[in-house]
Each structure stands twice: as C-alpha cells, then as structure tokens.
Amino acid sequence: MASIAQPRIHAPALPRPKAAPSGLWSWLTTVDHKRIAVLYGVTAFIFFLVGGLEALLIRAQLTRPENNIVDAQRYNELFTMHGTTMIFLVVMPLSVALFNLVVPLQLGARDVAFPRLNGFSYWTFLAGAAILNIPVLFALPEVFIRIAGVAWTNFFGSGLLTTVKTFFDFWPFPWFNGWPFAQYVPDQGWYGYAPLTERLFSGREIDFWALGLQVLGVASMAGAFNFIVTIINLRAPGMTMMRMPIFSWATLITSILIVMAFPAITIALVLLTFDRFGGTMFYRAFSLVDGTLVTAGGDPMLWQHLFWIFGHPEVYILILPAFGLVSEIIPVFSRKPLFGYAVMVYAIAAIAFLGFGVWVHHMFTTGIGPTPTAAFAAATMLIAIPTGVKILNWAATMWGGSLSFTTAMLFAVGLVSQFVIGGLSGVMHAVVPVDTQHNDSYFVVAHFHYVLFGGSIFALLGALYFYWPKVFGKLLDERLGKLHFWLTFLGFNLTFFPMHFLGLAGMPRRYSTYSFESGWWFWNVIATIGALFIAASVLVFLINVLRTAQSKQEVGPNPWDAGTLEWAIPSPPPVYNFRIIPLVTHRDQLWHDKYDRHQEAHGRPDGLADAIVELDQHPERAAVGVAELEAQAEEGSIHLPNPSYYPLLCGIGIFLLAFGLLINNPHFQLGFFGIPIVSGIGFVLLVTSIYGWSFEPAG
C-alpha cells in the first residue's frame, strides 16, 4: 500500500464563496458530502418511522389470537414492506449518511473523490425508495380507516363499519375506485422467493418491488465505488492504510461488499423481470399450457441461490458499518486507544471474505444434500471467530479504561451485549439439525432482530448522539438521551426476547394470526408491550431533537475529546472542511498531538520529531499535526467542486424510466418495441443528463 508522507502545496484555484450557500436550490444541486449526509439521514429517519409504523401494525395484529385488525393480505404486505424498508431504506442509507459525513473528515479530505456521483447516489436512492413506497403511501390510509372502523365496532357495537361500507357501496364517483396503487403493495416477503413472484401467482406489486430494488442497487453501487476511491486515494498526507481510523476501514470493506454482492441481486431481478414479461423460464419449473402442467426447465432454487449470494453479504453490509462506529465510540469514552487495531481490521476483512461463502445456510431446509450442507455449516461457524475477536477487543478496550457512560457509549455497549445474544443464536443456526427445527419460526425472527436492531440500529442511534454535535454544532440532551437508550433497550428486549420462546414453541413467522389453543398469546402480548416502549423511545428522541434545535448552545470542535481528524475542525465544519490539510503521523492524531507529542519529541527521536519540535514553537499552528508548508493556504483559494443539477436530473430520469413501466401510459412504437411514453421521457432525460454531466466543467 503506497502512501505519501510528504506534504504538498495545493496550487490556488479560482476564488470560492466562503459561506455555505442556502435555499432549496442549493440543497437540490449540492455536491457537499456533509449536506448529502444530512439528506440521507433525514430520508432514512423518515423511512425508519414508516417501517416502525408497519412493525407496530404487525404487533397490533398479533396481540391476541384470531385477531382481525388487518386481513391476511395486508399482513403479508406489512411484513414485506417492514423488512424491505428497514434493510434498504433505513439501515443502509443511515450507514451511508455516516459514511458521507465521517469518512472524508476522518481522512482529512475536502470532499469525496466524485462529488457529483455522490449527489447522484442520493437522488437515485430517493427514486428507488419512492418507487417502493408509492403503493404503501396510498395503502396506509386505507389500513388506518379500517382499523378505526374495527375499533369503533368493538367499542360501540356494530355501526360505523357497516355505515362506511354502505357508503362505499353507493359511492357516487365511478372514476374513483379506491386509492390508486393501493393494491400494489409488495406482499411476497423481503426475499421474494420464486415461484411466488412469477406472474401466475402475483400481480403488479412484484414489479414495484423488483424495479424499486433495482434502482436502489444502482444508488448503492454508485456510492460504494465513490467511497472505495475516496478512501484509497484521498487520504491526508501521512495517513497510511494502517493509520486510518477504523470506521473508514469498515466503510472501505462494506463498499467492497456492495460492489461484489449487488450484481447478483441485480441479475436475479433482471431474470425475474424477463420471466414476468419476456416469457423466459429461469425460475419456472412448470408452465401452464392449455390447462396442463408442462415441464419448463427453470428452477426456483436458482432464485434462492442468486438472492442469498447477494443476501448474506448484505447482512454484513448492514452490520460492518455498525462495528466500525462502535469501534470509534468505545475508545473515546474509555479514554484508551482501540485494543488490537490491526486485528480489528483483519477481523472486518475476514468477516467480509467469509460472508461470500455461507449463503446456503439460508437454504438448509431445501434438501440441497449433505456435502454442501456440511461445508456451508462449517463456513458459517468460522465466521464466529473473527466476530468473537471483535467482541473481545471491545471488551479489552473498555478493560481498565476510564469509562464514561454517555448516551453514545450506552448504545455502543448495548450493541456489544445485544449482538452477542444475536450472534449466539446465529451460531445455533449453523448447526443444521437445529436450523431445520428453527427454520421459518419466530426463533429466526428473534435472531435477526437481535443482530439488526440490537446490532445495526443500536450502533446507528449511538452514532447519531456521537456525531450530532459535529453536524449541527449542538449536543443532544444527555438526560433525554439516556431515557431514549433505556426505553429502547427495555422495549427491544421485551419485544424480541419472547420471540425466542415463541419460535421454540412452534410459532411460524409470517402467519397473520394464531389460534387460542396455541398457547402463544402471553408472549405475544409481552412483545407488543415492548414494541410500544420502542415507539415511546422514538418519540423521546424526536423531542430531544426538537429541544436541541431550539437550544442556543455552541460546542467546540471536539466535545468528546476524541482522537480522529474529524474532531480537529469546527462544529459544524466549514464547507471546505480543512483550511489546512493535516499531516498525519499517528493513528489517533489528536490524542497524539494533545497527550504524547511532547513526550515523543524528547523520548523517541524519529524522523518526525524535528518537525514536531518546530511546531511546538508555533502554538498557533499546533492544532492538528500541521504541515508547515501548507500553513500558507488561504481560505479564499480553497478549491471546492461546483454545485450541479445533473445528479438530480439523472435521478428524476431514472425515476420516470422505472415508473413509466409500472403505470398504464400510452406507448409509442420503436421497431418492435413498444415504449411507454413516461419511460421514454425518463430515458431521454437520463441520457441527456449523463452527457450534460460529462461535459460540465465541474469546477
């Protein structure tokens, strides 16, 4: 790994405005990584609320046996969209928000390598999220009207529901047949197993799901390319790979996972789309010809393989950023450097590598044969080793440290404890006979919520508290924060721990209801109560955000006394991040500067000691390991990329292109292709924008 130890002079470019521009247009055309981080964060949080609402509806339905708050169809839609939303529209974009915010700052860079591509990632993400959620947007009001009707009937005897029904029977507007799109909510489960997704068994809703995921894949891959190049190429002088903060490592490896794993789902979805509209038979074992079943030659197992070749690395795409965040938070609040930094890096890499060789453990019950089953079971157990190393290193970081339990630290330690529980039940699933028993039961639901909620969401919430002052210049309230944590922690365990019992008692996942005789009522009630605690915790967080926004505090650059470069610059950071690009000599540079630079200068005469002694005589430059030569850089001459509206236009183009395929709109004929007009416009817009982008001088 080559590195550059020499500081460089940055040639002055055109003068740039010093103040951050404001207004809607500046947000639509922004290429600033910090603003894109905020856009990602806010969008993901809104979807967190939507996905949470879906979860609450699921819990409401399961509170008592033979409940009928939502019918089986709506229930299928709810768990499908809950899973899809939480994975693709909450955990991934929240992680990407933190990549965007933290990585360039940690690296000592002024922006990512491709600022416009970064904007493109966000707008494309938004397009995909919109396509997935347009049906939900129209379906949810209907669900709530129905629930209100049921509640009314329960409390006041029958009345309103029949009134409403009669009213709709005599609906005077024939052009209004219910909300548009409301019947197109995907309902096949987040992993969309074939042949459920074939046209014989499904309708338009699968197309919304498939195209939405396809577009989200484009966004994720564009972002991943960008972060890999940024991390490899835009490190500050002196920052070798092994001096890089651990979160940047996590980002790098997660991005590599995205680049290697997303093509599998993209092709899987392409094949599915061909099956649905091109008459192919990739996932179709049988065709219906004149009322008789004919062997087609396709294989539903192909979908399972392709999906999980993507799906298992996806699990690590969700958790590795969380591991990186926790590895940043725990050392700061233990007042100790991370224990075993290099081993932590290797562990992340090992988890990612092994993650490509375990996908069949999602398919143990498909009868794939003893040899592959044994091989994949062994590979799955292997993953416990690097993961265990990480847990040990976090514990060892805290060991003997001077711990302070701020909210961020509580969430980080929460991850360590809760992820261990989820990890242990994960190892249980590597034991094939046990997995065969647990498969498709609530035990599995408990397991993956312990790793994804107890893991990813805990770390992301902790990171919100940790990085909030860096983004907004204000600390979130710690008292409300601690209330938030304990409510989340309590609610989370109340909701998901009983699901272990339910699973072992035989409750299958994805059933819309259960009988009185099943004996599952009690723990379901507990789980619902827990879900209400989680909902309350989210409200506390929102109150905290509002109160913090109104407060008039100002924090300095480094409220937590942390050691990485992002804490060297003011909070919130100026548009150009670093007035002077720092020279990095150590891993936790700020701690080095503050605590042991003087000592080192006298005790360990290495090549850098002279420069450091020299800097000691100029305290005004001693903020970060400042490169003397670069101290001449003037604010006005800092080069920044120009804003651009082409990323937004590309996003709109992709949205129209996909959306035109999903709605009924007139076609025009091009050879033997009939092209929907909306898609045609989207395509033309996309291509024009790509050309405009290519020829735009980016500044």
């Binding site: 550059i4 390319f225 794993a261 990739f282 062997t295």
Partner: protein, 252 residues
Amino acid sequence: MATATAIELELETAHGAGHDGHDDHGHADHPPTSTGLNSRKMLMWLFLASDCMFFGTLISTYISTRNRSIELGTPPYPNEIFDIPYTSVSAFVLLMSSLTMVLALSAIQRGDNRGLRIWIAATALLGAIFVGGQFFEFTSFAHEGLTLSSNIFGSSFYVLTGFHGAHVTIGVAWLMSLLFVSLRGGLPPEHAADVEIAGLYWHFVDIVWIVIFTLVYLIPYADGPEGAVEAVPEAFLRVLTIGERFLTALPI
C-alpha cells in the same frame, strides 16, 4: 475545460497520474492522490470488478442450465442451431477491435489526433459490425424457432448474449462520443486518460466475449436425452461403481 499548463503536466507525470482525482475534465490543480493513481481510472476498474460479478452471475446461470433443454427434450437444441464458423468470424471482428482500441490510445498519447480519430472510428465500426452480426444471428435463430420462451436454453442464451451485446452497444455509443469530442478539438494528449478508461471498458467486454464464446458455443453439448446421460464422464461412473462395490463388500 481548462487545459493543464506545462508545469502541472510535469507534476502529474512525476506522480504517475495522467489526470486529477476529481470527476471532471482537465483540472490539474487538485492535490495529487494518495496512491498516485488516477481516481477515474480506479473507478472504472471497480466498475469492471462489479461487471465481473454481473457476467459471473449470468454465466453461472447459463452453465447450470446448459444441457437441460436437451435432457428435457424441448427443442431447438444448442448443438443443432449454432453456426460456429459465423460466430467465430464475428468473435474475430470483436477481438480485432481491441487492437484498434490500443492503437487509438497509443495515438492520443503521441498527440496524433488524426490517428486517434481513425482508430476510434475503426473500433466503433468493428463493434457495430459485431452488434449487427449478433442482431442477424438472433433473427435467424428466431426464424428457426428459438425464442426467449421456446425453452430454457433460449431463455438463458438470449439473456446472456443479449446482456453482452448491450455492453458492446454502450461501448460503441461511448466511442462515438469520444470521436465527436475529438473532432470538436476536445481531446488533447493530456486527456489520454479519457480514451484509456473507455479502452479498459472495451477490452473487458472483449475478454468477456472470449469466455462466453467458449462456454456457450465451443464446448460440446450432450447429444440428446440419452446423450445427456452418456456425456457423464466415464471416470466418474467408475468412481461410483467402486463406491458401490465397496459398500456391498461391507459386512453390514
């Protein structure tokens, strides 16, 4: 588009980077990258890594269903329909386009604008001939009854080779754009990286075709429903019988 001054050029070549780190054309006033490698070139390599996975997924899908239409007895069969001499010629055309692509890059690095335009046009033309040939091949196969929905072979054959054809088509459009830019005088030698990156993509698409051509056209298929069984290698059968004999010899 700003042109780099001589001094900046010197600086750049000293660091082995033909271009700056940002995704724009011709700004040499950025700091050099940590590795000295051109960021845009690195981006293209990463895209090609993901493209390997795209084609890898499609190719494994094809291989997993390779003989299935023969085993099921659902014609048309691959070994009957392929015209290998015809496809060999178009494969040759595509491979030759890699040569012209290299010549185009060499021309721009030497500052030979005329050569650059000739070789880029030649590359695009050869690519277009390949796509045209594929279009003709698809049409003739369709006349013989092989469609997306005729059997699993038709499904996987058209999707795999069509996906590759779409890659070549995009490549041709890209080369035409470069040619257009060059004719407008927008491709001075210091923008050689623009041509090099397009070349990386082009060579990759060629290499993928070598793999597809071998796997889809050249490696023989089973001869028929009975042939599919015969095609199981004899050595494998022998191992099976050894195992069987071993099992029957066991005192259980």
